[in-house]
């Protein structure tokens, strides 16, 4: 069995599961946010149970439109908070809060071998820890909050093998954009993507989170990494309960094996309006921009801010560009503060925001006008994703985003740092 199959087998009380099999899975964590929780709560009430199956395994994080952007979103956040307090759920108010997929691993709430479902498509981020994590809708989440179980179809696993040495300024974001460009936005639909190879073994946790995060952009049910020393180092100081490490069998069956030589991969930019529409930075051409966003559940971790700071240090954001930098959580924010990054960002002409999903989905804190272009370290560049349907979003890694902010056009860091 593959890593994903082993986790699902254990959680469904079976010795073996095979792709396509419908199983009932016991979940270790059920997640929702200020957009998806209200619907889930409404459906939960309809089921007619009084209490969630286990309040320590149900997490609600206000992160999308908070601190509340308008009265309607304030009502939704209030509904979620009242339910979370009434049910004594795991809940983080703004201040302690972070973007859910940055926050939960930091808090040790997701551990290797877990099954996690969340009413947010980027729940797949936790695969970086060797967990099986997948996004679902609010009704599925309501049912799981009531029973602690959910039905799933066992996905086939696609094995992705990355070998070779990364070029300078190439990170997990570029590997995943390149992969999505190769297999397409439905290239892994219904499947689990297992990320392996020499390059992956040397890849930082933050870059792994970025890659697992965007598995959904290839249509995948989950993106998953083998657990190694790096994972265990990350988890060791955070875990407050036991966990189990699984690994794929040598004779595991994969639906497909795809190999990449990463030494050929440049920093990637995904052009509007699909994450698969990627080009190497050398083939971008002259594209002037109005905004840069560095942050999100995809690239809002410390490594991302450190990279952005390396590029921005001693330089100024172009006077035409709004450069918005958003640490993904309080922990990331505090670390950035201690390392002097926040001062550096502000002095360079960027604006720094409290953690929020805001601009990534056109909520607030950086909505685009018609005709405006944004380079963003987020995950989606669909029509209207960050504001006007006549605006454009270009996805990149934090180094490209920072360099673009300085030059006022899409550019790689090598143009300014030789």
């Amino acid at each position: 069995m593959t890593l994903a199959e082993k986790i699902l087998a254990t959680h469904s009380g079976k010795r073996k599961v095979s792709p396509g099999e419908l199983i009932n899975v016991r979940v270790d964590l059920v997640l929702s946010n200020d957009i998806t929780a209200p619907l889930a709560i409404k459906e939960f009430r309809r089921i007619g149970v009084k209490k969630v199956f286990d309040p320590q395994k149900v997490v609600m994080v206000p992160d999308h439109f908070v601190p509340n952007k308008d009265i309607a979103s304030a009502e939704q956040a209030k509904m979620m908070k009242e339910f979370a307090l009434e049910q004594k759920l795991v809940y983080f108010e703004v201040g302690e809060m972070g973007i859910e997929h940055v926050l939960l691993p930091e808090k040790g709430l997701v551990l290797p071998g877990d099954v996690v479902i969340g009413a947010d498509s980027h729940t797949c981020t936790y695969g970086a820890l060797g967990a099986f994590a997948t996004g679902m809708g609010s009704t599925d989440i309501a049912a799981a909050m009531a029973t602690g179980e959910i039905w799933m179809k066992v996905p086939p696993t696609i094995k992705l093998v990355y070998n070779g040495k990364l070029r300078k300024w190439v990170s997990g974001k570029d590997l995943i954009l390149y992969t999505i460009g190769d297999i397409g936005v439905d290239g892994a639909t219904y499947s689990a993507m297992e990320f392996t190879g020499d390059t992956i073994n040397k890849l930082s946790m933050d870059s792994r989170f970025t890659m697992a995060n965007m598995a959904i952009e290839a249509g995948a049910k989950a993106g998953i990494f083998p657990v190694d020393d790096r994972t265990l180092d990350y988890v060791k100081s955070r875990a407050k309960r036991p966990y189990k490490v699984y690994e794929s069998d040598k004779n595991a069956q994969y639906s497909k094996v795809i190999e990449y030589d990463v030494s050929k991969i440049e920093p990637q930019v995904a052009f509007p309006h699909k994450p698969s529409n990627d080009r190497p930075i050398s083939k971008v051409g002259n594209i002037e921009i109005d905004q840069v966003v560095i942050g999100s559940c995809t690239n809002g971790r410390l490594e991302d801010l450190l990279i952005a700071a390396r590029v921005l240090r001693g330089r100024k954001v172009h006077n035409r560009v709004r450069c918005i930098i958003i640490p993904g959580s309080r922990e990331v924010y505090l670390q950035a503060l201690r390392k002097g990054l926040i001062k550096l960002f502000i002095e360079s002409g960027a604006v720094v925001s409290t953690p929020t999903c805001g601009p990534c989905l056109g909520g607030y804190m950086g909505v685009l006008a018609s005709g405006e272009r944004c380079v963003s370290t987020t995950n989606r560049n669909f029509v209207g994703r960050m504001g006007s349907p006549q605006s454009e979003v270009y996805l990149s890694n934090p180094a490209v985003a920072a360099a673009s902010a300085i030059l006022g056009r899409i550019a790689g860091p090598e143009e300014i740092m030789r």
Binding site: T36, M136, G137, T139, D186, T189, L361, G363
Partner: protein, 168 residues
């Protein structure tokens, strides 16, 4: 259960951000969401749509965000059924859970144009293009899913499961 309506046709990879943009997700009432359904992809959709109409689209319909608001908005806009070459997996679950009928049928998508009249029989998966005199057969639901649909969706299914646990 027989459905009949006029076709609104779209291409591949229709994502949930264009079905219902996130800027309107500060509410969850289906009727309110429906007022912005498809507006970034097809601003005329809401003027054209009539109760019972059918969306026909290419592959990977409903990709992107997990927002259940997407099938809720489509249903509340009056759409009776979505027929696509394939669906993104979260949307597939959400549609069934919220009672929006969806069918996968590549041939029907290929041979149907905007404005055609379709008749759909959900129990058999038969799709008749009345305008062109063509009949197609959609992929039937897996047995497990039929059970869930017969129970009236996931909430009813869960209610029954909990009642059964309590009576043990």
């Amino acid at each position: 259960m027989k459905l009949r309506g006029k076709v609104h046709k779209y291409g591949a990879d229709v994502n949930t951000d264009v079905i219902i943009p996130a800027r309107y997700l500060n509410v969850y009432d289906p009727a309110e969401l429906a007022q912005h359904c498809m507006e970034d992809l097809d601003p005329e959709f809401l003027k054209r749509v009539k109760p019972g109409d059918i969306i026909v689209a290419g592959s990977n319909f409903g990709c992107g965000s997990s927002r259940e608001h997407a099938p809720l908005a489509i249903k509340a806009a009056g759409i009776s059924c979505v027929i696509a070459k394939s669906f993104a997996r979260i949307f597939y679950r959400n549609a069934l859970n919220t009672g929006l009928p969806i069918l996968e049928c590549e041939e029907a998508v290929g041979k149907t144009r905007a404005g055609d009249i379709l008749e759909v029989e959900l129990s058999t998966g038969e799709i008749v293009n009345v305008t062109r005199g063509l009949t197609f057969k959609a992929k039937p639901f897996p047995a497990f899913m039929l059970k869930l649909i017969k129970a009236g969706g996931l909430i009813e299914y869960t209610k029954r499961k909990i009642a059964a646990q309590r009576s043990r």
